[in-house]
C-alpha cells in the first residue's frame, strides 16, 4: 500500500487540533524556559501561558462555523467544540492569572504549574473535540493526570497531598468504569467512532443490553468528573485541599469538559436510548442539586462550601441535560461559561482573603470585608448573586434557560425542584454576604493586595458575570449555534 503523505496530512488535518498544538507547544516551551531562565519570580510564566491560551482561543474561534474534522474523523473542530474550548481557555486563563500570587504566598511557586495548566487544558479541549471514544479517553486522561499533579502541587502541604491522592485514586477508579463501558459499547456496536456507534445503535430496535450497560458505565465515568451524586464524594475533599487556583480551574474546566464529551456521546451516539437515560438524568439531577445544596448549608470553610455548591450547579446543568432539547443543552453551554466566570471569580476573592497556609478560609473570616474592602466585597457579592441565580447576572440567565429546557420538555416538577433548590441555595451564598457586610470587621485585611494579574482576573470575571446577565442575547445565540451540530 502506497502512502501518500500529502493525502495523509489531509486526512489528519492538523488545523483541527491547532489550539491543542499551540497549547502543547507553549506548555513544553514553558517547561524549558522555566528551567533555563534563572528568575525567582515566576510571574512572567503566567503572562506567557496567558498569551498561549489567548492564541489557542483565537485559533479556535477562527474556526467558528467551519466544522472541520481531522484524524479520519476522530476529532472535530465544530461550533460545539469551539464554544467549549473558549470556556476552557477562559477558565485556564483566569486560573493562571490568580496563580502567581497564591503560589508565591504558599511558597510553592514552581514554574511547572503553568505548563501543567496548559496540558490539562489541552486534555479538556481534546475531550470537547473528540468524536471517537479513543480521543475522548485520551483527552480525559490528559486532563485528569495533569489535574492529579495540580491537585497535589503544593507538596509540602498535607492537605494538598491528600487532595491529590484522593483525586488520583478515585479518578483512576472511575476511569476503570468508563473504559469498561467503552469496551462494552465497542463490543455491542463494533465501533469506537461516535458517528458510527450512532448509526448502529439507531438500527437496533430494542437497545442491546450490552450497549445499555456500556452507556450507563460511560455515564458513571463522566458523572465522576462532573461530580454527580453519588459520584461526587471526592469533590469537597479535593477542592478543599488543592491549591485554590487549581480548585478554581477544577470547578469550571473539567466539569465543562466532561459535559462536552458527555453531551456529544449521549446526544450523538445514543439518542435512540433517550427515553432510558433521560429518566435517569432526571433522578440524578434532583439528587445532585439537593444533596449539594443541603450539604453546603452547613459548611464554614468557603472552599468546601463552594465545592458543594459546584455539585449543586452540576445538578442544575443536568436539568438541562435531562430535558435534552436545544434550550436545555444550549443552557448548559451558557451556564458552563457563566459558571467559569463567576466561580473562578469567587475563588479569586478567596485567594485574596486567605492568608499563608490556607488559613483564613472560613466564611467567618470574611467578616467586615464589605467595609474594609468595599470593591472586593461588591465584586464577590455579584458572583454570589450570580451563583444563587438572581438577576441581573449571567447565573440567572443560565438557570433560566436550563429550567426552561426542562419546562419545554415537560419536566415541570424537575424545574420546580430546581428552583426550590435555587432558593435554598441562596441561604449559604447570602451567609457569605452576611459576614461581609453585616458583621463587624475583626481584621483590617491589610494583607489583601491586589496584584495586576488578579485584578485583571477579577475584572474579566466581573464583566463576564454582569454583561451576559444584562445582554445575554449574543452569547445565547452562540450557544444555540453550538448545540445545533450535536442535535
Amino acid at each position: 500500500m502506497e502512502i501518500n503523505v500529502a493525502q495523509l496530512f489531509q486526512t489528519i488535518n492538523l488545523a483541527t487540533i491547532m489550539p491543542e498544538i499551540i497549547l502543547s507547544v507553549v506548555g513544553m516551551a514553558l517547561l524549558l524556559v522555566n528551567v533555563f531562565v534563572p528568575s525567582k519570580s515566576k510571574g512572567y510564566l503566567a503572562w506567557l501561558s496567558l498569551a498561549g491560551l489567548v492564541a489557542a482561543g483565537y485559533t479556535a474561534a477562527c474556526g467558528w462555523g467551519q466544522n472541520v474534522d481531522g484524524f479520519s474523523g476522530s476529532v472535530v473542530l465544530d461550533n460545539f467544540a469551539i464554544f467549549f474550548k473558549l470556556i476552557f481557555v477562559i477558565a485556564a486563563g483566569l486560573a493562571v492569572l490568580i496563580s502567581d500570587q497564591y503560589m508565591e504566598r504558599e511558597g510553592c511557586n514552581q514554574g511547572e504549574l503553568y505548563p501543567m495548566v496548559l496540558f490539562t487544558t489541552v486534555g479538556m479541549m481534546l475531550m470537547a473535540s473528540g468524536t471517537d471514544m479513543m480521543t475522548i479517553f485520551l483527552g480525559l486522561e490528559l486532563m485528569s493526570i495533569s489535574l492529579y499533579v495540580l491537585a497535589g502541587f503544593n507538596r509540602a502541604n498535607v492537605k494538598s497531598n491528600e487532595s491529590g491522592l484522593k483525586y488520583f485514586l478515585l479518578g483512576a477508579f472511575s476511569t476503570g468504569f468508563l473504559l469498561y463501558g467503552m469496551a462494552l459499547v465497542y463490543g455491542a456496536t463494533g465501533y469506537t467512532r461516535i458517528a458510527k456507534i450512532a448509526a448502529v445503535a439507531s438500527q437496533m430496535g430494542q437497545p442491546d443490553i450490552l450497549l445499555l450497560i456500556g452507556a450507563l458505565l460511560i455515564l458513571t465515568g463522566f458523572a465522576f468528573k462532573i461530580a454527580i451524586v453519588p459520584f461526587h464524594m471526592w469533590t469537597p475533599d479535593v477542592y478543599e485541599g488543592a491549591p485554590t487556583p487549581v480548585t478554581a480551574l477544577m470547578s469550571a474546566g473539567p466539569k465543562a469538559a466532561a459535559f462536552a464529551a458527555f453531551l456529544r456521546m449521549f446526544l450523538v451516539a445514543f439518542p435512540s436510548m433517550k427515553a432510558d437515560w433521560s429518566d435517569l438524568l432526571w433522578i440524578l439531577a434532583v439528587l445532585t442539586m439537593t444533596v449539594g445544596n443541603i450539604t453546603a448549608l452547613r459548611q464554614d470553610n468557603i472552599k468546601r462550601m463552594l465545592a458543594y455548591s459546584s455539585i449543586a450547579h452540576a445538578g442544575y446543568a443536568l436539568v438541562g441535560f435531562a430535558a435534552a432539547n436545544t434550550t436545555g443543552t444550549s443552557g448548559i453551554l451558557f451556564y458552563m461559561l457563566s459558571y467559569a466566570f463567576m466561580n473562578i471569580g469567587a475563588f479569586a476573592i478567596v485567594v485574596l482573603v486567605a492568608k499563608q497556609g490556607e488559613t483564613n478560609g472560613n466564611v467567618q473570616d470574611f467578616a467586615g470585608l464589605g467595609h474594609k474592602r468595599p470593591a472586593l466585597a461588591a465584586i464577590m457579592t455579584l458572583f454570589l448573586f450570580s451563583l444563587a441565580g438572581i438577576p441581573p447576572t449571567a447565573g440567572f440567565i443560565g438557570k433560566f434557560y436550563l429550567f426552561s429546557g426542562a419546562v419545554e420538555a415537560g419536566y415541570i416538577w424537575l424545574a420546580v425542584i430546581g428552583v426550590l433548590n435555587s432558593a435554598a441555595s441562596a441561604y449559604y451564598y447570602l451567609r457569605v454576604m452576611v459576614y461581609m457586610y453585616m458583621k463587624p470587621a475583626e481584621e483590617e485585611f491589610g494583607w489583601v493586595s491586589l496584584t495586576a494579574p488578579v485584578s485583571l482576573a477579577l475584572l474579566v470575571s466581573f464583566l463576564g458575570t454582569l454583561i451576559p446577565g444584562v445582554v445575554p442575547s449574543y452569547l445565547l445565540q452562540l450557544a444555540q449555534a453550538a448545540v445545533k451540530v450535536i442535535s
Binding site: 477508579f173 458513571t220 458523572a223 453519588p230 471526592w234 435517569l280 443541603i294 450539604t295 448549608l297
Partner: protein, 667 residues
C-alpha cells in the same frame, strides 16, 4: 338662591384652620376665642338667612340640594360633596350653630388660662364643622363624614386633658364605641346601596333620591336589616343600649364640650339620622319596635343609674343618655316630629344644665384651689347651699331642671309629654304601647327625682365645701352667665313651638308650628303609616288624663327628692344601708363597664396575645422556621456521609454504578 350654604360649614372650618395652625403663635386668648366664636356666629347668621329663605318657599319646595363638587365616583357609585337644605336640616343648623355659638362664648370664660386654649377652640370649631356636615350632607357618605368627624372631635375633646390617663381612656372608649356604631352605619349604607341598585337599578346614596324611591322598598325583610344596621350606628353615636357606656366617661372633657357635644348636638345625631331616613325605618315594623324598646329601656336604665351618682356631670351624663332614650322612643313609635322636638328642647335645657354645672365646677374649683384642697370640685357631696353665692347660675339651672322634669309651661313638658302620649297611643306597637309608656313614665319619675336631687344637693342645704373655701365661691363672669340666661330663656320658650293641638286649641287655635314645619320631611313616613296601620281614635279626655298623669309623676319625683335631700338628708344613707347590694349595683352603673371588659375587651386582648405568641410565632413562623431548620439539620446529617475516607467514596461510586445498572437490567 341657596348657593351660599357652603359658607355655613366653611366658617367653622376656617376658624379651625386659623386657630389650629396659628393659634400657638397668636397666644392672645381673647383673639383666639373671638375667632372661634365669630366663626360660629357667622354660620349662625347664614343659617338664619337660609332658614328664612326656606320658610319663604312653599312647603312642597322646601327640599334643596346644593352640589359643591363631585367627591368620589367609581363605577355606579357616586358621592358628591353636596348639601341638603330642608326643614329638618335647617332646624338642626339653627340648633347647632345657635347653641354652638353660645357655648363658644361661654368657653372663652370657662377655659380661661387653660393650657392649649387655642387647641380647644380649634377642636370646637372642627366639631361644629363636622356636625354641620352631618346635618347638611345630602348623601349617606357625606353624612358619614360628619358622623365620624364629630366622633373624632369628641375623642379629641374628651382627651383634651391628655395627661390624665382617665381622659385618654375615655376618649378612646368614646371613639371605639362610636366606631362600633359606624360599622353598623357602613353596613347599612352598603346594604341599602346594593339592594336599591340590585333590585331597582337605582344606584344612589342620596337622601332625596332614596326618599323619592322609598316606595320601591318592601316592608320588613331587607329593610329591617338595613335599618337595624343604621340603628346600630345610632346607638353608638347617641349612647343607647348597648353602646352607651362611653358617654358618662366622656365627662372627662371640659364642661363646654359636655354641653355642646355630649348633650346638645352630637349625641342627637342618631335621632337626626333616623329622622332623616324615617321613610326607611317606618318600612320595618321590627326595627321600629327595636328602636322604641331600646329607647325606652335606655331611658329607664340610665335614669336608675343617674339616681346614685355623686359627680354632678355624671348625673347629667346619665340624664342625657336617658333623654336620648326618650327621643329614640319617640322615633320608634313613629312620632318623628316629637323626637326632633325633644331633641331641640333637650338641646336647650341640657346645654343650660351642663353650662350651669360648669359654672358651679368652675367656681368650686377656684374656691378649692384657694385653700389648696384636692377635693373633687365635681362631687356634689362637697357642694350645697350654692344658691347664695351664685344666684344667676342657680336661677338658670333651676329653670332648666324644671324643664327637664316636665313641669307644664316649660319646654321639656311639651316635648316629653308628646312622646309619652305617642308611646301610649301610637298605632304601631299594639299591646306593647303600655310597656313603652310605662318605661317612659318611670323614667320621667326618676328624672324628676335625680334632677332635683342634684339641685338640692348643689344649691340647697348647708355648704359642705372645705373649711374656709366658702368665701371664695362667687358668681361667674358675664361671658359665662349670659349664655346661661339665653339658654334658660330658650328652655322655657322652646316648648311653645310645638304646642300640642289640645293645648293650642285652648289658646285659640295656636298651631303646632314645628309639626307643620317638619311635615314635608316626614311626609313619606306618615303617608306610609296612614296607608298601612289604622290608628285608633283616642278621646281628648284620655289625652288630658295622660297629660295630668305625667305632671303628677314629675311632681312625685320632685317630692321624693325634696324629702330625701332637703327635708331629711339622713334618709338616703339609711336607704343605702338597707339595700346595700342594690345601691352598690346602681352606684357602679350596674357593672356594665366591667361586664364589657370581661366579655369583650379582655377576651379580645387574650385572643390577640394568643394569636401573636401562640399562633403567629409558634405555628405560622414555626412552620417557616421549622422547614428551614429541618433542611439545615438534614444538611448537618448529610455532611457526615462525607467521611473523608477514600474507600467509602469508592463504595459510594460502586454502589451507584450497581444501582444504576441494576435499575435498567431488572426494569
Amino acid at each position: 338662591m341657596f348657593d351660599n350654604v357652603w359658607l355655613i360649614p366653611l366658617f367653622p372650618l376656617i376658624g379651625f384652620l386659623i386657630n389650629g395652625l396659628l393659634g400657638k403663635k397668636i397666644k392672645n386668648e381673647t383673639v383666639i376665642g373671638s375667632i372661634g366664636a365669630f366663626a360660629v356666629l357667622c354660620s349662625f347668621i347664614v343659617s338664619v338667612m337660609t332658614f328664612l329663605k326656606l320658610i319663604g318657599l312653599p312647603a312642597e319646595e322646601r327640599v334643596i340640594n346644593v352640589k359643591i363638587f363631585t367627591w368620589i365616583t367609581a363605577g355606579h357609585f357616586n358621592a358628591d360633596v353636596a348639601f341638603l337644605i330642608d326643614p329638618l336640616s335647617c332646624l338642626m343648623l339653627l340648633v347647632v350653630t345657635g347653641i354652638g355659638f353660645l357655648i363658644h362664648v361661654y368657653s372663652i370664660g370657662y377655659m380661661h388660662g387653660e393650657e392649649g386654649f387655642y387647641r380647644f377652640f380649634a377642636y370646637l370649631n372642627l366639631f361644629v364643622f363636622s356636625m354641620l356636615l352631618l346635618v347638611t350632607g345630602n348623601n349617606l357618605l357625606l353624612m358619614f363624614v360628619g358622623w365620624e368627624g364629630v366622633g373624632l372631635c369628641s375623642y379629641l375633646l374628651i382627651g383634651y386633658y391628655f395627661h390624665k390617663k382617665s381622659a385618654g381612656d375615655a376618649g378612646k372608649k368614646a371613639f371605639v364605641m362610636n366606631r362600633v356604631g359606624d360599622f353598623g352605619f357602613l353596613l347599612g349604607t352598603f346594604t341599602l346601596f346594593w339592594y336599591m341598585g340590585q333590585t331597582n337599578n337605582i344606584w344612589t346614596i342620596q337622601f332625596t333620591e332614596l326618599a323619592k324611591n322609598a316606595n320601591l322598598l318592601p316592608t320588613g325583610g331587607v329593610v329591617t336589616v338595613i335599618t337595624l344596621c343604621f340603628f346600630l350606628g345610632a346607638t353608638g353615636k347617641s349612647a343607647q343600649i348597648p353602646l352607651y357606656t362611653w358617654l358618662p366617661d366622656a365627662m372627662e372633657g371640659p364642661t363646654p364640650v359636655s354641653a355642646l357635644i355630649h348633650a346638645a348636638t352630637m349625641v342627637t345625631a342618631g335621632v337626626y339620622m333616623i329622622g332623616r331616613m324615617s321613610y326607611l325605618f317606618i318600612r320595618s315594623p321590627e326595627t321600629m319596635t327595636v328602636v322604641a324598646l331600646v329607647g325606652g329601656c335606655t331611658a329607664l336604665f340610665a335614669a336608675t343609674i343617674g339616681t346614685a351618682q355623686n359627680d354632678i356631670k355624671r348625673v347629667l351624663a346619665y340624664s342625657t343618655v336617658s333623654q336620648l332614650g326618650y327621643m329614640f322612643l319617640a322615633m320608634g313609635v313613629g312620632a318623628f316630629t316629637a323626637g326632633i322636638f325633644h331633641l331641640m328642647t333637650h338641646a336647650f335645657f341640657k346645654a343650660c344644665l351642663f353650662l350651669g354645672s360648669g359654672a358651679v365646677i368652675h367656681s368650686m374649683h377656684g374656691a378649692l384651689h384657694h385653700v389648696h384642697s384636692h377635693d373633687d370640685a365635681q362631687d356634689m357631696r362637697n357642694m350645697g347651699g350654692l344658691r347664695k353665692h351664685m344666684p344667676l347660675t342657680f336661677l338658670t339651672f333651676l329653670i332648666a331642671t324644671i324643664a327637664i322634669a316636665g313641669i307644664p309651661g316649660f319646654s321639656g313638658f311639651f316635648s316629653k309629654d308628646e312622646i309619652l302620649w305617642q308611646a301610649f297611643s301610637n298605632p304601631l306597637h299594639g299591646d306593647l304601647n303600655i310597656v313603652l309608656w310605662g318605661m317612659g313614665a318611670c323614667a320621667a319619675l326618676l328624672t324628676a327625682f335625680y334632677m332635683f336631687r342634684l339641685v338640692f344637693m348643689t344649691f340647697f342645704g348647708t355648704c359642705r365645701i372645705k373649711e374656709g373655701a366658702e368665701k371664695h365661691l362667687h358668681e361667674s363672669p358675664m361671658v359665662i352667665v349670659i349664655p346661661l340666661l339665653v339658654l334658660a330663656l330658650l328652655s322655657i320658650l322652646g316648648g311653645y313651638l310645638g304646642l300640642p293641638k289640645l293645648i293650642g286649641d285652648l289658646f285659640g287655635g295656636v298651631p303646632n308650628y314645628l309639626d307643620q314645619y317638619l311635615e314635608p320631611v316626614f311626609a313619606n313616613a306618615n303617608q306610609y303609616m296612614l296607608a298601612h296601620v289604622h290608628p285608633e281614635q283616642h278621646s281628648h279626655t284620655l289625652e288630658w288624663g295622660m297629660m295630668a298623669a305625667s305632671v303628677v309623676i314629675a311632681l312625685i319625683g320632685i317630692s321624693i327628692a325634696a324629702l330625701l335631700y332637703l327635708i331629711n338628708p339622713e334618709l338616703p344613707k339609711k336607704f343605702t344601708t338597707a339595700f346595700p347590694a342594690l345601691h352598690r349595683a346602681v352606684y357602679n352603673k350596674w357593672y356594665i363597664d366591667e361586664l364589657y371588659d370581661f366579655m369583650i375587651v379582655n377576651p379580645c386582648k387574650a385572643l390577640g396575645r394568643f394569636l401573636w405568641k401562640g399562633f403567629d410565632v409558634l405555628v405560622v413562623d414555626g412552620v417557616v422556621n421549622g422547614v428551614a431548620s429541618t433542611v439545615m439539620a438534614f444538611g448537618g446529617v448529610i455532611r457526615y456521609m462525607q467521611s473523608g475516607l477514600i474507600y467509602n467514596y469508592a463504595w459510594s461510586m460502586a454502589l451507584g454504578v450497581v444501582a444504576i445498572v441494576a435499575y435498567y437490567v431488572f426494569k
